[in-house]
Symmetry: C2
């Protein structure tokens, strides 16, 4: 094979698993592809990256087209490069995940999509996705699980004001196990990155909970010690 046929003949894409927390469920955004290849199949939002576009710009573009918003928390996870993973030629893809508060944004089917919808993560993991997207989803969810135990990224998924119970539920959904209420509160509060507000939950049919806010400044200021650890042993 000649040099020019062997190299500089490939393309690369970014795929972005967008996680969202909607009141009481952890969800992931999937699109129904509106164009070939894999037209009609479910997939993670993603797109080819142009040769004069950085990876991050590519992800930003995909996010903009999918949830119409930029500046989300995002993280690169893994690069998938199976030779035959894409029907149109050699396309390797760099997988990212991003975190959104579902209520904040409106979905807009991206140019490459026929439709876009939120699926509960557990459900999405069972669906058949196009390309190698099942593998990608799994890798990203795994990474999220790890990350959530070493940095307070949970807040990226919540509205500005939230209750400790909401926060705990979110962690339980991500970690897929129950946490002890008192221990959770103790641990979270001991991090000293939450500001309690003089405000309570409204419209609930029971004792309303105090609202809290994530204090980004305090978080940045603190030197990050070891990982968090939510009842790793017995509840597992």
């Amino acid at each position: 094979m000649k040099f020019e046929d062997q190299y500089f003949k490939s393309a690369f894409s970014v795929d972005c698993v967008i996680f969202g927390f909607d009141t009481n469920a952890l969800k992931v955004l999937l699109i129904r592809r509106g164009a070939e290849p894999m037209k009609g199949s479910l997939a993670i939002p993603g797109d080819l990256v142009s040769i004069n576009e950085s990876l991050e710009q590519g992800v930003e573009r995909v996010l903009n087209q999918s949830v119409g918003i930029s500046n989300l928390y995002m993280e690169q996870v893994y690069t998938f490069g199976r030779v035959d993973r894409h029907p149109d030629g050699r396309v390797i893809t760099i997988a990212y995940y991003a975190l959104v508060n579902v209520r904040d944004y409106k979905l807009s089917a991206a140019s490459f999509a026929e439709s876009a919808d939120w699926y509960p993560v557990s459900e999405a993991l069972e669906l058949e996705l196009g390309f190698d997207h099942n593998e990608i989803l799994q890798a990203c969810f795994g990474q999220l699980k790890l990350k959530v135990q070493s940095a307070p990224i949970g807040f990226e998924l919540l509205p500005k004001k939230f209750t400790l119970s909401q926060l705990q539920l979110l962690y339980e959904l991500i970690l897929e196990r129950d946490l002890d209420k008192r221990n959770f509160r103790k641990k979270i509060l001991s991090l000293d990155i939450l500001t309690p507000l003089n405000e309570k939950q409204k419209g609930v049919a029971h004792r309303p909970a105090k609202l809290y806010q994530f204090d980004e400044e305090k978080y940045r200021a603190m030197k990050i010690v070891g990982g968090l650890n939510f009842d790793a042993k017995k509840n597992s």
Copy 2:
């Protein structure tokens, strides 16, 4: 820009930071580039990946050309894709690291290299490397540090038979901090993945230490519990 100029006009490479442990130093293999681009500068071994070659095959090839051996422990770390990172066009690179026992193999300057040599990691981190290889080296070293605390990959860098002191030194070099001897031994032995041999160190001018061997079967058999943790607090 037309579609065909925008996509399928890029290339991708793999770069592989090869870590080696040589008696008493943690080293990394660097090459002096023998071809353009960046001819003459120091760099991490790597090469373009052909369009019908998988990423892993690409890394294997680079490893073969560099240390003449395959089947090393390796791990993907991160993908670097700055638009202008490569002078010849759009080339994104997928960074891996690999672990070798330096004594086992002979270096062979790869086709793309003028020479190849082991550098102490601390020194290599200070050198000016070609492309964005400083960044890559840092990312890989960081990843190694993390990984060594959650899986017993240290053994990949040691000869089959080793002493606990050698193992401890290796961990100290990777983690860049001192570890307590008794606590280290306690922890490592409690993992129950080392087989003590009826054999002692030879040719040392002091009391010879007992030799141990990593028991891969036992390791595989055991369900991996939480991370290891080497005196995280006070010695730091």
